[in-house]
Amino acid sequence: MLTKKVQKRVSFLSLLLISLVIAVFFILKSLTNNILYFKSPTDIQLNQDIVLSKKMRVGGMVKKNSININDKAINFIITDFKNELFVSYSGTVPNLFSEGKGVVAEGILKDKNFFIADRILAKHDEKYMPPELKNIIKKNVK
């Protein structure tokens, strides 16, 4: 038989352990609910089971001569040199946002050709490119 003291200790430790397991379970659950997938315009065209209302990131190049601005929004086209995606964005653009340069936009798809962004990601360095973007460009520009 376990003594009372040991019993208490075991129950204390198991309580601690169980609470931690439950906590990790909830962390993982909300993690899967809150991740953002990164897609290129081609991924969006090819993908059949895309959820329109789910937030995602889209990356590619800002097409030359595609930026169009009015007093509310900035519209531009993201291209991966195979497919294109119209983007509408209202908010501040980072300093390296420019035609012919790489861009990552975060937001939701209206349909397969139209994307409403609520954030354009800032990169500090003109030489730097997100790894995802580098892969896309490597694949498509040869």
Binding site: A23, L36, Y37, I69, K72, T92
Partner: protein, 628 residues
């Protein structure tokens, strides 16, 4: 010239490290109780040489010696002096040298200030710390040598990324490094403690001040980074849950847990193995963070020059460290008796640790999750603020309540709860919260809980402060930190709920109206500065209700070396709120892209964070006074 000198010093340091280890091993045969003079002298040489080598690098930056690659790549002769100096650690090689220096400084001072501890324990700590120094020194010399030369010597340097030319970011790396590289000393001490069985209270006393130092500096370092992000990145936020930021927060949570549980070890001689785990974990997390950031595995909005070979070296070193510490730990682990009452200070400190570990796991999982999904499923994902907000914020409410009650509980066994008082505090908090929502603006259900719990902590800490003043106790470090933490959460909560943000595009001369505000783009000027040109906008902000009339001047800066455009936010800070405007231009258009924000209590968020770390320094001061 400088390059040869610096390199010689680094190689001498390598030699000294080996010698220190060699003679330290020899010390075991020596039956004297004190460590021989020779080792002190060697350590003195070691610290002197490493500091001189750092000064050499700084000199190279000041005189713009472009024959050194690091200087060529990160400096420019026209740069202001401050940023020439801060450029020294604003790059991978220089910052790694700083890393080695802090390892060495902590090693030296630990040796000096541990005189009344057992000899074997000190010697083995020294040996392990020197193994760490050697490991990083090897990496520095053979992979990332800051003194490498380039031939022929370029006439001009490439310049430091303008976004890094900033006072907050100039002090950010040294502060942060003292924090997380400083944790190396209690990693070494913990390993040594396992080897020599020098455990319990004495062990706790030997490392507690080092934990305090690293924790306080880490807090300040994170703060400096946040302030920089606030006014330099132009989003108006100060925390983005970016992998780089998370990497600095992970060791902070481990340190905070350690800071609390070490008191249990010191006062009650319990939780020894848990304290050891935290000591080992803190430094391991620091190195892990460095690995994640420098190897380029994670996609972050902050850029570090990435290089897979660096990542590989740190990964190997990290694996060795983890393997050695896990192996040693399980070799020595004994089931010890944890016999404390559930209603005691000890239990509440364990509860604190539970929360710290919970936050740590949350952030660690969120940070490394994208790596796993990419390897396992080939999906590229990122984990953003929504994840952290949903997991962390509700738990903060509980945490704040425990944080208020914990310090009121007595050690060993708590006899009486002053439930009456707690109830009164709770009522007062709810009342204040109600007043805020009534007079200003209502906010979400969860925000109410956050504000109430923060107020609960503030009021209960204020009562404690009052009590300790009455008793003439000078040691109010704990109250300071807890109170400041309460204020931090309160102000973040209020800031979050009462911020106003508006994005729009304007042409010169146009006016934008929303709510009670009107913003007019009145002027645009071009100005030349020492190392950049600036396009400066002039914006007039009016609040029709409050008779406000302010001018703000955001800039677009064009730097020549390296060729970069940056957007400088214009911020009008006051005690109650900040007005914040950034302006950016868009290709082929007369429109300027404007972001206007009203951010209440920003200054108080910074002040609260400073006071949190001040608590750590106060305790340190108090401990130092007690010893003399």
């Amino acid at each position: 010239m400088l390059s040869n000198f610096g390199n010689t010093l680094l190689f001498l340091n390598l030699l000294l490290g080996v010698l220190i280890i060699y003679f330290s091993v020899g010390e075991f045969q020596n039956s004297k109780i004190t460590i021989s003079k020779k080792i002190y002298q060697l350590c003195l040489f070691q610290i002197t040489f490493v500091i001189i080598s750092f000064l050499t690098l700084i000199t190279a930056f000041i005189i713009s010696d472009f024959s050194i690659i690091t200087v060529y790549q990160n400096s420019h002769s026209l740069k202001p002096l401050l940023y020439k100096i801060s450029g020294t650690w604003g790059n991978h090689e220089g910052s790694l040298l700083l890393w080695v220096i802090i390892l060495t400084i902590f090693s030296f001072f630990f040796l000096i200030y541990s005189k009344n501890h057992q000899k074997n324990y000190r010697i083995i700590s020294l040996i392990i710390q020197n193994i760490l120094i050697l490991g990083f020194l090897f990496f520095l010399i053979f992979n990332s040598n800051p003194f490498s030369i380039i031939a022929p010597t370029p006439k001009e340097g490439l310049g430091l990324n303008p976004i890094l030319q900033d006072p907050a970011l100039a002090i950010h790396p040294p502060l942060l490094y003292i924090g997380f590289v400083g944790s190396s000393i209690y990693f070494s001490a913990a390993m040594s403690s396992l080897i020599t069985n020098y455990s319990g209270k004495l062990f706790a006393q030997s490392i507690k001040n080092w934990v305090l130092i690293s924790w306080s500096f880490q807090t300040l370092g994170i703060l400096a980074g946040s302030i920089w992000a606030y006014y330099e990145l132009g989003w108006g936020g100060f925390w983005f849950w970016d992998p780089v930021e998370n990497a600095s927060l992970l060791p902070w949570f481990a340190m905070s847990a350690l800071l609390h549980s070490i008191m249990v070890l010191e006062k009650r001689n319990q939780l020894y193995f848990w304290v050891i785990i935290l000591c080992l974990l803190t430094f391991i997390l620091s190195v892990t963070g460095t690995f994640l950031v420098r190897s380029g595995i994670l996609n972050s909005v902050h850029t570090f020059a990435n290089d897979p070979s660096r990542g590989l070296y740190i990964l190997i070193f990290l694996s060795l460290m983890i393997f050695a510490s896990v192996f040693l730990f399980f070799n020595k682990f004994k089931n010890s008796n944890y016999g404390f009452y559930s209603n005691s200070r000890e239990t509440f400190i364990l509860i604190n640790n539970w929360f710290m570990i919970f936050y740590l796991i949350t952030i660690l999982l969120g940070t490394i999750y994208p790596i796993f999904t990419e390897v396992l499923t080939d999906y590229k994902v990122s984990v953003g603020p929504p994840f952290y907000n949903t997991v962390i914020i509700p738990i903060v409410v509980l945490f704040l309540f425990f944080m208020s009650i914990g310090p009121r509980i007595k050690w060993i066994k708590n006899k009486s709860y002053n439930l009456n008082l707690l109830f009164k505090i709770l009522l007062a908090s709810i009342l204040i919260n109600f007043l805020i929502t009534y007079f200003f603006n209502s906010y979400s259900f969860l925000s109410n809980f956050i504000i109430i719990s923060a107020l609960f902590l503030i009021i209960s800490s204020l009562l404690d402060l009052n009590k300790s003043f009455k008793k003439k106790e000078i040691n109010s470090s704990r109250v300071t930190s807890h109170l400041a933490f309460g204020f931090l959460i309160l102000f973040i909560g209020l800031n979050h709920n009462f911020s106003l943000e508006e994005d729009f595009n304007l042409k010169l001369g146009e006016k934008k109206k929303f709510d009670n505000y009107s913003i007019e783009f009145t002027d645009l000027k071009l100005k030349d500065f020492e190392n950049y040109k600036a396009v400066i906008g002039k914006f007039q902000i009016n609040n029709l209700k409050k008779n406000l009339n302010q001018f703000l001047y955001p800039e677009i800066r064009i730097y020549d070396n390296p060729k970069t455009i940056t957007y400088e936010a214009s911020i009008r800070s006051s005690f109650l709120k900040d007005y914040y405007i950034t302006m950016s231009n868009v290709d082929r258009s007369d429109y300027y892209n404007i972001k206007f924000q009203k951010k209440p209590f920003m200054m108080w968020i910074w002040i609260s964070a400073i006071f949190i770390s001040l608590g750590g320094f106060l305790r340190l001061f108090h401990n130092a006074k007690k010893n003399y």
